[in-house]
């Protein structure tokens, strides 16, 4: 299990998903907080390559020992590739959520949408608010 951290070079969605922008493409995954809440991930159902993902809508499922959870797209895009390593070894989401545990790579269809996401400081503040609620 990785230690709690939230990299500064990512943008964050309120459903605990992250985006790493790479030119006109981007990589999506779930945050340390999300994998910690889920517990040990045992199954990843990815979207099809070529599928269209809409921001705030679900695009796949992660199943942990506790529950099956939807994964939310933090931005609009078309799936370029999915992380087959996570399909084969879902625990990568727990051990390396921002690296080997990435979920999907998309071609961004509406990059302006990224502005609606939180930066690292805003997301950490958002998490602190959840703890108090």
């Amino acid at each position: 299990m990785a230690d709690e951290h939230y990299p500064e070079d990512l943008r964050y969605h309120r459903e605990h998903d992250w985006v790493r922008v790479d030119g006109d493409e981007a990589v999506f995954g779930i945050t340390w907080f999300a994998q910690d809440a889920l517990g040990e991930v045992v199954f990843y159902e990815p979207p099809a390559v070529g599928a269209t993902l809409a921001a705030d809508a679900t695009y796949g499922e992660l199943e942990s020992v506790k529950a099956v959870s939807d994964i939310y797209a933090p931005a609009d895009g078309e799936v370029v590739s999915v992380n087959e390593d996570v399909v084969a070894a879902p625990e990568l989401v727990n051990t390396d959520p921002y690296g080997a545990g990435w979920l999907v790579r998309v071609r961004l269809t509406n990059p302006a949408r990224l502005d609606a996401l939180m930066d690292q400081a805003a997301y950490v503040a958002y998490l602190a608010g959840l703890g108090e609620a």
């Binding site: 809440a37 199954f43 020992v65 506790k66 529950a67 879902p90 625990e91």
Partner: protein, 506 residues
């Protein structure tokens, strides 16, 4: 009570677990047939070769004591209601009176063949007819089918009834609403019945978010599936307004009867405005259950849904020499059968025995005590030593069960709800439901039921306080629990990732 501190292996843990196929020896038998005293028939005359298997079946070859010890050993590795407290929220693990077992074991019940003709099974049909009526009265909905064999099966039948009702009016609808507190079976049922799930939010009081419901209730909605009290253990006081909104768009209102134990004889789903109700006979009406059955999930419906009920229905007609009971199949608009034969009959016998022995007043009292027990336990668990670590998310009286959050415990003590649950096993109690409902962080869902004494509830609170005090000193103790169960902490992740689904034989 002394928490186990000796972490050496128990005899049960050291024992090698074997399947029955790994016991015995070739040729060993539990019984021997007598010498043949009639002329032997050539096997080909009795059963042609094409219908016969080529090799012998692979069966265990064991003596009778080996069989008995094998299963008794397995039963000792199990935890059950006859062994201890079992507050598994949403599952209503109430005590099963032994009287019901005696009644169900009567040969007229236990030896009844499912293909017995109705005229030869009048007693059984009378019992089923009586059970139908009693359930209709409890639900406040007059038309009942005993066919579905589980709560989830009752849900599926109920949503198929909704589909039949809308389609019969030429009204195609595609959405079923389920609150985010719904049992996981609800969205699964919706999908199986060919509808699309749309979630409805929860308001600050733990009830249905009425604004969200009004927004989502359109003429494309076929049904709202609701549990009341819901899985947070809270009764939704807005139920008549919810019914008005749902009926206003022409949809049906479905009652998930999983939590019926809170309201029996006090309020009726039919009076709240529900069209379809399923019962979990194995929960609310006592039944040894868990591990997959046997169960029964009868449904009760309103007049407008009645024409579509599954067949057969048990009927009673008056004849010159007394009433005659029958199984009726010819309902032209029926959705048809939802299972073979007539349901899990033994479950009907126990449920009917329960209803008859308690009576209407007794059922009401059972619900009242279930609610009282839950509120008493909830109050005990808010006291110092527990309340700091386990939060009570909704500051209202609960019904028959309640949720707590292990969030503060996780942050302050570094142990999770799973660790707390595992440590409870060392104290001889079954843990509550954990991590459900999902909208509560590190959730515990606790349902003590009406059959537990005040002393049991107080002991449970003491156990929790003790585990939490122990975790202040040594969180590792809980993290590595349990220590005294037949198996120690299981590797649930590997079991899910690399399941072993096949036991090779021979």
């Amino acid at each position: 009570m002394t928490p186990p501190t000796d972490f050496a292996q128990t005899a049960q843990q050291r024992e090698e677990v074997r399947t029955i196929f790994e016991r015995g020896a070739p040729g060993r038998r539990a019984s021997h047939l007598p010498v043949l005293d009639v002329p032997e028939q050539p096997i080909d005359d009795v059963l042609p070769a094409r219908f016969r298997r080529r090799g012998l079946p692979l069966l265990p070859e064991v003596s009778e004591p080996e069989i008995v010890r094998h299963y008794v050993r397995l039963s000792k590795r199990n935890f059950d209601l006859d062994s201890g407290f079992y507050p598994l929220g949403s599952c209503t693990m109430k005590y099963n009176p032994k009287l019901h077992e005696r009644v169900a074991a009567l040969p007229g019940h236990s030896r009844l063949h499912p293909l017995q003709r109705p005229e030869r099974a009048q007693g059984a049909l009378e019992l089923m007819w009586g059970l139908q009526n009693a359930l209709g009265e409890i639900a406040g909905l007059p038309h009942v089918s005993l066919q579905p064999s589980a709560g989830s099966h009752g849900e599926l039948a109920g949503v198929l009834l909704t589909r039949a009702y809308h389609e019969d009016r030429g009204d195609a609808r595609e959405i079923v609403l389920t609150p985010d507190t719904a049992h996981g079976t609800n969205p699964a049922t919706v999908t199986m019945a060919g509808y699309r799930v749309l979630g409805v939010g929860t308001d600050a009081n733990g009830g249905v978010d009425l604004d969200d419901l009004r927004e989502k209730a359109t003429d494309r909605v076929a049904c709202l599936m609701l549990t009341n009290p819901n899985t947070l253990g809270l009764f939704d006081p807005n139920i008549t307004e919810i019914a008005r909104i749902v009926h206003g768009v022409g949809a049906t209102l479905y009652y998930d009867g999983a939590n019926l134990n809170a309201i029996m004889g006090i309020s009726r789903p039919g009076d709240m405005g529900f069209d379809i109700v399923h019962f979990n006979l194995h929960k609310s009406f006592t039944q040894p259950h868990g591990g997959g059955g046997p169960g029964a999930g009868p449904i009760a419906v309103s007049d407008r849904i009645a024409p579509y009920l599954p067949v057969p229905i048990v009927t009673r007609t008056e004849a010159a020499d007394g009433p005659v009971f029958d199984l009726v199949d010819d309902l032209p608009k029926s959705i048809g059968r939802v299972r073979g034969f007539q349901g899990n009959y033994g479950v009907f016998v126990r449920a009917y025995a329960y209803i008859c022995s308690l009576g209407g007043e007794g059922l009401r009292q059972a619900s009242e005590i279930a609610v009282l027990n839950a509120n008493y336990l909830r109050a005990l668990l808010r006291k110092q030593g527990i309340g700091e670590y386990l939060a009570t998310p909704f500051d209202r009286h609960c019904m028959h069960e309640f949720v707590m959050s292990g969030g503060p415990m996780k942050r302050d003590l570094g142990i999770r709800t799973l660790d707390l649950a595992k440590r409870m096993l060392d104290f001889g109690v079954h843990p509550p439901t954990v991590y459900f409902p999902q909208l509560v962080e590190e959730c515990l869902l606790i349902e003590p039921t009406e059959t537990e004494t005040r002393e049991t509830l107080e002991t449970f609170a003491k156990i929790l306080a003790e585990i939490l005090a122990e975790a202040v000193e040594s969180p590792e103790t809980a993290r590595n629990a349990p220590y005294t169960t037949p198996v120690r902490r299981l590797d649930e992740a590997t079991a899910a990732r690399v399941p072993v689904l096949r036991q090779p034989l021979g």
